[in-house]
């Protein structure tokens, strides 16, 4: 693939949790239409990177820009309005509300009733399982269904950029495959994806480019194909 216009840009981003220096000068670019993966071990700073982008945590220095606009200090609820949706780690669905209500809350920032209805159909077509369970309480869904709901809910914001945090967590291998092919479909329909995964093999399979994080620093970056065959990556993350 050729040069793409940068949708999201992180320049020298640092994050501290109290005395802990979690992100140590991250530089990262996501181009329009790409799937970019962040891989790395527990505590490397993958989730922290996503949370810094979505504004849930504050950066201590550095610059995050989206479509050329500085969003470093923008509060989380305004970042969603700009077209960045996050599917949080552990899904975090609204467990006591119905599937329908969860999806409706996804469209909370929107006022275009017609568009919301269309997107609702689009989400339910993509996840037929959710259509079957539309008036069921979300907390009673299986893990895989909850993950689908979390993705569907994020789609309801009609995002340009979707941040996915560990979508494979706690899912059976077959379901992981399904979820990942759905992520690819969403990307092919025009949504840019930034994906955080421990399952490096799957992540590199669907990504165009990837970054490898180690203790708050980016240690490797490049095309997913290149990284998948890189000796260090193989050894550390692909079990080869």
């Amino acid at each position: 693939m050729g040069r793409v216009e940068a949708l999201l840009n992180l320049e020298d981003v640092n994050v501290h949790y109290g005395a802990i220096w979690a992100l140590k000068g991250i530089n990262l670019t996501v181009g329009e239409g790409e799937i970019v993966s962040l891989i790395g071990a527990n505590g490397a700073g993958k989730s922290t990177t996503l949370r810094a982008i979505s504004g849930v945590i504050k950066t201590s220095s550095g610059r995050i820009s989206y479509q050329g606009e500085d969003i470093t200090k923008t509060p989380a609820h305004d970042i969603v309005k700009k077209g960045i949706a996050q599917v949080p780690e552990g899904r975090r669905i609204f467990a006591n509300l119905t599937v329908m209500e969860n999806l409706e809350l996804g469209a909370y920032i929107r006022r275009d009733a017609k568009g919301i209805k269309q997107d609702m159909e689009m989400v339910l077509d993509r996840f037929p399982r959710l259509r079957e369970r539309i008036s069921q309480i979300a907390g009673t869904l299986s893990g895989g269904e909850q993950q689908m709901l979390a993705i569907g809910r994020a789609l309801m914001t009609r995002p340009k950029l979707m941040l996915l945090d560990e979508p494979s967590m706690g899912l059976a291998p077959l379901l992981v495959k399904e979820i990942f092919s759905i992520i690819q479909e969403i990307n092919q329909d025009g949504t840019t994806i930034l994906l955080v995964e421990q399952n490096a093999r799957m992540a590199l399979q669907i990504a165009h480019r990837a970054y490898v994080l180690e203790t708050g620093r980016i240690v490797l970056e490049g095309s997913a194909q290149k990284l998948a065959s890189h000796e260090d990556v193989k050894k550390a993350y692909l079990g080869g």
Binding site: V56, H77, E101, L105
Partner: protein, 321 residues
């Protein structure tokens, strides 16, 4: 069509109830003691449903309701008793004062969660009480007297109906949904673009303002206010009503308020046992029905529809929502 019909039925039932009670009071069928308790039920319904908005629907645990009620009661009473201005102004000022206090208390304390918020709001309630006890302008510990007796059945009735309508419409609006999502999972709510601080404070302020309204009504019925009327025990009473009725159920709050007020009227002759019985009630409901009598469900006319469906032997049109 169906929606209009059920609204019409509800209006009719309310109108009949209103007229029957008014006639009962006029003709002496409802005696003084029960009139007092009837008004108290009304005031308690407002208190319970407004506390439910904060504790049940938004998922914050506030124990400051007695404080907000006191702010409303005293500022309303100042308008009528000390300044000689009309009662409607007292209602407005009482609600505004309580709502404003809600903003001031809510902004810093709603960053706290669970137990900490409970302790902070509990402290607020006690501060209000102690401050009132030390202001001579409102009578200090001996209380504020000679508040005009204004409250009658229509005022209570319409205050209750309007309060419930306000809370119901709020809950059913997208703002209410936002509050529910904050209760369910505040991080996810934030990621859906919901300004969680705003909604926590908003629900808190509406709840506080309605508690203020209850305070104004209270002041203009009893005509005497004493700081000790607004002790923690009052908040506890309201909390029991909300818990017994069901956190997150508006009709539950109504049921809880009616039940507890009537029960406490019957227990008036054995005041020393009242709190014991309250505590027992709370324990029993926590053990056997932790979600409250109604849980999060609402009583509505859909029940009649369902019953009608059964009687007609037909399956009513199933509503997915």
């Amino acid at each position: 069509m169906k929606k209009y019909l059920s609204t019409l039925i509800i209006c009719l039932v309310l109108a009949v109830f209103f007229v029957v009670v008014q006639l009962g009071i006029n003709n002496g069928f409802i005696t003084g003691y029960w009139v007092t308790n009837l008004y108290l039920v009304g005031i308690n319904v407002i208190l319970a449903s407004s506390l439910n908005l904060i504790n049940g629907f938004t998922g914050e645990f506030s124990l400051g309701h007695a404080g907000f009620m006191a702010v409303g009661a005293y500022s309303g009473a100042i308008i009528t008793a000390n300044l000689g201005l009309p009662f409607p102004l007292a209602v407005i000022v009482g609600m505004l004062a309580a709502g404003l206090t809600g903003v001031l208390v809510g902004l810093p304390t709603l960053r706290l969660r669970g137990d900490y918020l409970a302790i902070a709001t509990l402290g607020f309630g006690e501060i209000v009480r102690v401050v009132l006890m030390n202001i001579d302008y409102v009578g200090g510990a001996s209380g504020l007297r000679d508040i005009p007796f204004v409250v009658n059945w229509p005022i209570i009735f319409f205050s209750v109906v309007l309060s419930l309508l306000l809370i119901r419409n709020f809950i059913c609006s997208s703002h209410g949904r936002a509050c529910l999502s904050v209760r369910e999972n505040d991080l996810a709510a934030e990621m859906m673009g919901i300004n969680i601080t705003y909604y926590k404070v908003l629900a808190f302020v509406i709840g506080a303002a309605l508690a203020g309204l209850a305070g104004v009504l209270y002041a203009h019925y009893y005509t005497v206010l004493q700081p000790r009327d607004f002790s923690f025990m009052l908040t506890f009473d309201v909390l029991v009503m909300v818990m017994v009725g069901g956190l997150g159920s508006l009709t539950g709050s109504v049921v809880g308020a009616v039940l507890i007020t009537v029960a406490s009227a019957f227990l008036q002759s054995i005041p020393e046992l009242r709190m014991v019985i309250y505590a027992l009630l709370l324990i029993i409901s926590a053990v056997f029905r932790p979600q409250g009598l109604l849980g999060e469900k609402e009583v509505s006319l859909k029940i009649l529809q369902k019953l009608g469906g059964v009687f007609n032997g037909a399956v009513g049109s199933k509503q997915t929502h």
